[in-house]
Symmetry: C2
Subunit: 162 residues, 2 copies
């Protein structure tokens, strides 16, 4: 997996296609510790508060953020599910499917890297099984949910929720 240059700042999410494999990279810096970002991704009540586009209300149907656990959540229109392969403070590996296309399964690796200045860099690496599937996902408008969700994390960090 590519490591982003450390002199770059990602105050907004950068979403990029990997040049070699059918994967999407997302980089985003937060004024947070790795532990705060880990909780935002593993505590179901916190996760439901930030994930997805602004204005969506997400219900968690299943949640066991442990090695071999699983999750399912959704709003009125869309549901998503997957399993947690690895849940460690510095690394989450999980599968991810939009139930509208149940045979499209991504393998996501999310890491939290402390930058040493009170900020932590999130890197999400989402591996698809084809370049066509990856490119369709990039064209789907996914950046709206990504940007809105991460902005919600910023607010939860500011107001002490996280």
């Amino acid at each position: 997996m590519t490591t982003a240059p450390t002199d770059t700042r990602y105050d907004q999410a950068v979403i990029e296609a990997d040049p070699a494999v059918p994967a999407i990279h997302i980089w985003r810096d937060f004024a947070a510790t790795p532990e705060q970002l880990f909780r935002a991704h593993t505590d179901p009540e916190l996760y439901a508060r930030w994930v997805g586009p602004a204005g969506s209300t997400v219900a968690i149907d299943r949640w066991d953020a442990t090695d071999g656990g699983a999750f399912r959540f959704g709003d009125d229109e869309h549901s998503f599910r997957g399993c947690f392969h690895t849940v460690r403070p510095d690394r989450i590996v999980q599968t991810f499917t939009w139930e509208g296309m149940p045979d499209d399964v991504a393998l996501e690796t999310i890491t939290f890297e402390e930058l040493g200045d009170g900020r932590t860099r999130l890197h999400a690496f989402s591996l698809c099984d084809s370049f066509e599937g990856r490119d369709a996902w990039l064209r789907s408008g996914m950046e709206v949910g990504v940007n809105d969700g991460y902005a919600a994390i910023d607010r939860m960090l500011s107001d002490g929720t996280l």
Copy 2:
């Protein structure tokens, strides 16, 4: 995912690198129904009888072959674990890790295609996160366990175990 030409016979496993993505294909035909191969991959007692190189004795530590379930198994030397993302009669999607390299996670899709002559074609598609990791796996001697395991399935089909 590539579909193998239907006029080809795979009485022995064919193991191939995908030309485009960092994945390994395995094709193997069995004198079996899809349902028999599905049971061989989802019933823990049956799975322990065939998986791995000849002579290995595998113990199942964890097994829940349902959507969002998980597994762990191993012999005296090696343990493997993962989670089941999808478990359907025609399709199993699971993560897979050798615990000796816990951050190397493959996403495996196993399908069972009835050939119409009493035989069924197994196709396993194992997606890795890099070409280097995929190629290292191909060079690891994996074909021994694959061939021995599938020969054990042949015997279980012949003697009525499956």
